[in-house]
């Protein structure tokens, strides 16, 4: 094939074929167009206001690295007047997060941004390595997902930041749309398509953890273009898989998205747009925000379903894919009930009957797979930690209680028994919580 010239400048050799419109661009024009489109997303959705302090949820991976780079560029180019900082969560996984955090540290220097790293051990008294030691590799992603969710909010709160941006891209959103469609969970589909999610504060306390806005400036950016942007701008990012879910990236929803893209590249954005349109049809879809935001929905609620791990913080794709695959397997053979009971109970907020039924069947109904009753939930504060929760005790505290109860026994019982003990105690606690609500 003879080299094609760039569709924009008509001079340089085209190096990029854009998935969304098949246009052929040279490196310089591509970088410029990519940045301009993010700027457009930011301005049309009014994501920021002047002088706002914004924390970038940074994992060292491609998405958050590109997000940090683009936001720095746009902040200077268009004078957003934003105070950008990096916020990283250290799950405490040796050989995984400690390496990627080194990348974040370099990014902080490269972009001249202040970096805060907050560890699970500091927040919860447990590193993920310790959690896995206790509960085993199976199901640990639930803990990680629940903990990470709160960790970003708590970190932001500690830094006096009211807005956290994450690197979710169009592929992530399309994947979530498809999965919620496959689950028949339109209320969640409605929530997860929103570019802004906001956790309405249950109290007027400005120091409260819970009043944090979340947004996804890369929501319309293709993963392919994010990777190409990182490549052509020679950004320093880290790619790895979590050692506790090495198979996660082979998930079926992700594979489906990538196969669709191969056949018809515009499919990804089309799915995102379809998701947005379907969201508008969901009754009560505007009620999730609890009145605290005009177009946003509850962040806590949105994420409640995403109990999975992520290959990056702020990204739930790995875990979600894994859970779809897991669900498919579970549908074929519902075996090995101990873990699932734990997850099932969390899944249904205040729906005791359904919970019992699931538990009785020993079915593996994974968090986020069983559709929630509706998008209407009464949000309150966790009685223990004050975090926003639809339950009296938030999920993180419930999980922690289970972990902490089992901890002393760790030394006197053999491994698999400890595992059962911890999971049973989690389940008991969840049962109790649920019954209290009923």
């Amino acid at each position: 094939m003879p080299p094609s010239p760039c569709a924009l400048c008509k001079v340089n050799r085209a190096l990029i074929l854009r998935p969304k419109d098949h246009s052929k661009l040279c490196k310089t024009c591509f970088i410029s167009v990519f940045e301009t489109e993010i700027h457009h997303t930011i301005t049309t959705n009014a994501l920021f206001h002047r002088g706002e302090k914004v924390a970038i949820g940074a994992s060292g991976g491609k998405d958050s690295t590109v997000l940090a780079s683009v936001l720095k560029t746009l902040n200077e180019r268009y004078d957003y007047s934003l105070d950008l900082i990096l916020l990283s969560i250290d799950e405490g996984i040796k050989g995984y997060r400690d390496d990627s955090l080194e990348t974040v540290k370099r990014n902080a220097e490269q972009y001249g941004m202040h970096l805060t790293i907050l560890g699970y051990d500091e927040l919860y008294g447990w590193t993920m390595d310790q959690v896995v030691e206790q509960v085993g590799k199976k199901g640990n992603c639930t803990y990680c997902g629940v903990f990470r969710r709160q960790a970003l909010d708590r970190g932001a709160s500690r830094l006096g930041v009211k807005h956290v941006v994450t690197g979710h891209n169009a592929d992530d959103v399309a994947e979530t749309v498809l999965m919620n469609l496959l689950r028949g969970d339109l209320p969640r589909l409605s929530r997860t398509t929103s570019i802004v999610t906001s956790t309405p504060s249950a109290s007027a306390d400005p120091a409260s953890d819970t009043n944090i806005k979340r947004s996804k400036p890369l929501k319309y950016a293709y993963e392919k273009e994010i990777v190409l942007y990182a490549h052509h701008k020679k950004l320093d990012y880290f790619s790895t898989e979590c050692i506790y879910s090495p198979e996660a990236f082979r998930g079926s929803a992700r594979a489906l998205i990538k196969n669709l893209e191969r056949v018809r590249p515009s499919a990804i954005l089309d799915v995102v747009r379809s998701g947005e349109d379907m969201a508008k049809l969901v009754p009560g879809s505007d009620e999730g925000c609890g009145g605290a935001c005009s177009k946003g929905v509850s962040a806590a609620e949105e994420e409640e379903g995403e109990g999975g791990c992520g290959s990056a913080q702020g990204r739930s794709t790995g875990g979600e894919m894994a859970s779809v695959e897991a669900q498919l397997r579970q549908n074929e053979a519902a075996v090995d009930g101990h873990l699932e009971t734990e997850i099932t109970t969390k899944t249904i907020n205040g729906s005791g009957k359904q919970q019992e039924a699931c538990a009785a069947n020993g079915k593996k109904a994974k968090k986020g797979i069983v559709p929630k009753k509706s998008s209407k939930q009464v949000m309150g504060q966790c009685k223990r930690c004050g975090y926003l929760s639809s339950q009296e005790i938030c999920k993180a505290c419930v999980l922690l209680e289970g972990l902490n109860k089992a901890r002393p026994r760790n030394h006197i019982e053999v491994g698999y028994e400890v595992q059962d003990v911890s999971l049973n105690s989690v389940r008991d606690e969840l049962d109790a919580t649920s019954i209290r609500r009923d």
Binding site: I16, S59, S64, I226, V227
Partner: protein, 107 residues
Amino acid sequence: MSNDDTIPITIEFSGGLEILFSNQKKYNLPLPFKDESGEPANVAFLVRHLCDNVMEDPRKELFVLDGTVRPGILVLINEADWELEGEDKYEVQKGDHIMFVSTLHGG
């Protein structure tokens, strides 16, 4: 194999793909000039060659699926998207730099 029978090229893996290739990002390879059926070596042949002769990881399906590069892995031929170059039918030239970048891995 003498130099006449091979094409010197540079192969690079990134975005996490290097994990499948002994954690080595860059390979300077002599690629056989002709493929199994005597046709000029193209990218499809290169991919087979990498699978059979370079990749030690048994999880071939993480690199190749249904006879072609797994969806979600970008191929850059001298920095250009392979879709601009004829994809796997592109005939490999001496000194080519061919890069495989995974978009599938997280951070």
